[in-house]
C-alpha cells in the first residue's frame, strides 16, 4: 500500500488516488503566431505514445480523487515504491 503525501491532505492511502501516468511528456510547441495550422505529427505521436518507462525514479501524475480532488506531480521509485516528493500540478496552484 502506497502512502502518498498529498500537499493539501497529508499522507493518504493509494486507493484514494487515481493514476495519471508520466508527468514529463509535453505536447509539441506549435507556432500559433504564423497563423498556419502546422501540426508536428511526429511530435504528437511521440507525446501520445512514447514513454521513458524507467526502472527506478519516475515523475508521474496522481489525482486525489477521494480527497481534495487536485492533480499532483509525484516522484516515486518504480522498483522500491519509495516516494521522494509530491507537489500540486500546474493549474492546481503549483507550477
Amino acid at each position: 500500500m502506497l502512502l502518498i503525501p498529498c500537499p493539501v491532505c497529508g499522507e493518504r492511502p493509494e486507493d484514494e488516488f487515481g493514476f495519471g501516468g508520466d508527468a514529463t511528456v509535453q505536447p509539441p510547441v506549435t507556432d500559433s503566431a504564423s497563423g498556419q495550422a502546422e501540426v508536428d505529427i511526429d511530435g504528437f505521436a511521440d507525446y501520445l505514445y512514447l514513454r521513458e518507462n524507467p526502472k527506478g525514479r519516475h515523475t508521474e501524475l496522481w489525482v486525489h480523487r477521494y480527497g481534495c480532488r487536485r492533480w499532483l506531480v509525484v516522484e516515486r521509485d518504480t522498483v522500491t515504491h519509495e516516494l521522494y516528493s509530491s507537489r500540486l500540478a500546474a493549474g492546481e496552484g503549483g507550477e
Binding site: 493509494e14 493514476f19 501516468g21 512514447l50 514513454r51 518507462n53 518504480t78 522500491t80 515504491h81
Partner: protein, 420 residues
C-alpha cells in the same frame, strides 16, 4: 548415447535403472563468440522463437540469453489461460494461429504441456452486456473461430458453483464461451520449448544478462553481456516487462509502460470447477488447477511498477470479486500471491516488428495476454527475423502504427496502458 526422446520405452528403461539414467533436458553451454541470431530473453516467447528458427527456417546457430533461469519470469507467473476470442481481425487471425499451434504442441515438442481445452466462460450480467458479447462472438464466427452464446441455464449446467441465487450481487444473465480455449501447464511450455530447441542445436545460456548493444552504421553487430561480448548478425528482443529497459540500450523509446499484475491461489480442494470463468464487470477470472487450487487474477495494480510484488488493495479487490462470483470460496484460505511485470503497450496490442536499428527486432507489448500467444508469437517472430520482414500475420503489429494511426485497440481505452 541414450535416446533423449520421451516415450513409453524411455519410461520403462528409466524405471529399470531407478530413474538415474535420464539425460538433462537441455545443455548448459558457455556462450560462443559468435552466433547468427541472438535472442534476448529465455521466456516462452524467446524459446519458441529459437525453436521455430531452427525447425522451420534452418537457422540453428542461435543463442537464447536469459538473465535469470528458464521459467523464472512471466512464463511461470501467469494464470495459464489460452484463448483466441479477439474482435479485431489482425488480433483474431494471429491468436487463432497460436491456438492451432497449442492444439498440437505436446506432440510437436515431445513434451506434455498439458493443454486442456476446457473453454472460458465470460459472464454477462445484463441484457445489454449479453448483446455486446454476442456481437463480438459473431465477429469471431465470421472469422472462422469458434464461439457460442450460453443461456443462464446453460451456464448453470457448466458451472453450478457460481452464484445463481436471487440475491446475487451481479446476477448471471448469460455468457459466451469459446469451447476450444482452455489452460496449459505454464512451466512445461518453457521447459518443452527449451528442450526441443536445444535438441536442434540452440544454445540456451542462463544467468547471462545483456548489458549493451554493439551498433555500427545503424545496424546491430553484437551484444555485451555479463558473460562476455557476443558477435551476431541479428538480435531479437523478447523480454516482456523489461522491453523499455533493453530497448533503451539500443537508443530506442517504446510505446510501452511497465505495470504490475498479481495472481493468487487458494489452498487445494476437490475438483468443483472444470472451466475458466470470467466476469468483466467484476474484473476477475477464476479457474481450478490440476492440483485443486483455485487460481484467481484481476486488474493491474494500476501504476508503473517493476517491483514484481503487489499491494494489498488489489488482492482484496480480486478475492472479494471472486467470492462475489463463487460464494463458496469465502471459506477457503489464500495460499499464495505473486506478481509479474507486464509490458503494457499504448493500444493494448503487441509489437512484433523490425525496429529503426537494422537487424534488431522487437517482440513485446504483450500487456497481460502474452502466455496464450507463446507459440504464435515465436512462430511469427522467427519468420520476421529469418526473412528480415514480418509475416502477414504480424504485419499489423508494427511500431509504425503509433505514428500512422493504425492502432489495434480492442478495448478502445486510449493511450492509457493501465486501462487496457
Amino acid at each position: 548415447m541414450v535416446d533423449a526422446r520421451y516415450s513409453i520405452a524411455a519410461l520403462v528403461r528409466g524405471a529399470i535403472t531407478g530413474h538415474r539414467s535420464w539425460p538433462e533436458a537441455w545443455r548448459k553451454p558457455a556462450p560462443k563468440p559468435r552466433y547468427d541470431v541472438v535472442i534476448i530473453g529465455g521466456g516462452g516467447h524467446g524459446l519458441a522463437t529459437a525453436y521455430y528458427l531452427a525447425k522451420l527456417h534452418g537457422v540453428t546457430n542461435v543463442a537464447v540469453l536469459e538473465k535469470g533461469w528458464i521459467g523464472g519470469g512471466n512464463t511461470g507467473r501467469n494464470t495459464t489461460i489460452v484463448r483466441s476470442n479477439y474482435f479485431l481481425r489482425d488480433n483474431a487471425f494471429f491468436y487463432e494461429h497460436a491456438l492451432k499451434l497449442w492444439e498440437g504442441l505436446s506432440q510437436d515438442l515431445n513434451f506434455n504441456v498439458m493443454f486442456s481445452p476446457r473453454g472460458n466462460i465470460i459472464l454477462a450480467h445484463d441484457f445489454g452486456q449479453a448483446e455486446g458479447m454476442t456481437m463480438r462472438y459473431n465477429a469471431l464466427r465470421l472469422n472462422g473461430i469458434d464461439g457460442v452464446r450460453l443461456s443462464r441455464e446453460e451456464v448453470q449446467r457448466r458451472a453450478p458453483a457460481l452464484d445463481f441465487s436471487p440475491n446475487a450481487r451481479f446476477p448471471i444473465f448469460g455468457a459466451v464461451d469459446q469451447p476450444r480455449s482452455g489452460v496449459a501447464r505454464h512451466d512445461a511450455v518453457a521447459w518443452g520449448y527449451a528442450r526441443a530447441a536445444d535438441r536442434l542445436g540452440v544454445d540456451i545460456i542462463e544467468n547471462c544478462e545483456v548489458t549493451g548493444f554493439d551498433i555500427k552504421d545503424g545496424a546491430v553487430t553484437g551484444v555485451q553481456t555479463s558473460r562476455g561480448d557476443i558477435a551476431t548478425g541479428k538480435v531479437g528482443i523478447a523480454v516482456a516487462g523489461h522491453s523499455s529497459e533493453v530497448a533503451r540500450m539500443a537508443g530506442l523509446r517504446l510505446p510501452i509502460e511497465t505495470h504490475l499484475l498479481q495472481a493468487m491461489v487458494s489452498e487445494p480442494v476437490k475438483p468443483f470447477l472444470d472451466t475458466v470463468v470470467i466476469s468483466p464487470s467484476l474484473h476477475v477470472y477464476v479457474s481450478q488447477t490440476d492440483k485443486g487450487e483455485v487460481l484467481m487474477g484481476g486488474a493491474l495494480d494500476g501504476y508503473n511498477s517493476y517491483s514484481q510484488r503487489g499491494t494489498w488493495p488489489t488482492v482484496e479487490d480480486v478475492v472479494s470479486s471472486a467470492v462475489g462470483m463463487i460464494p463458496r470460496l469465502k471459506s477457503l484460505r489464500l495460499m499464495r500471491t505473486w506478481g509479474g511485470v507486464m509490458d503494457m503497450s499504448m493500444d493494448g496490442s503487441p509489437i512484433i516488428a523490425k525496429t529503426p536499428v537494422e537487424r534488431l527486432y522487437l517482440n513485446g507489448g504483450w500487456c497481460y495476454g502474452g502466455f496464450k500467444a507463446t507459440p504464435g508469437s515465436g512462430w511469427v517472430f522467427a519468420h520476421t527475423i529469418a526473412n528480415d520482414a514480418p509475416h502477414s500475420l504480424n504485419e499489423a503489429f508494427s511500431l509504425e502504427r503509433f505514428r500512422s494511426g493504425r492502432l489495434l485497440s480492442e478495448r478502445g481505452a486510449g493511450n492509457y496502458p493501465h486501462y487496457h
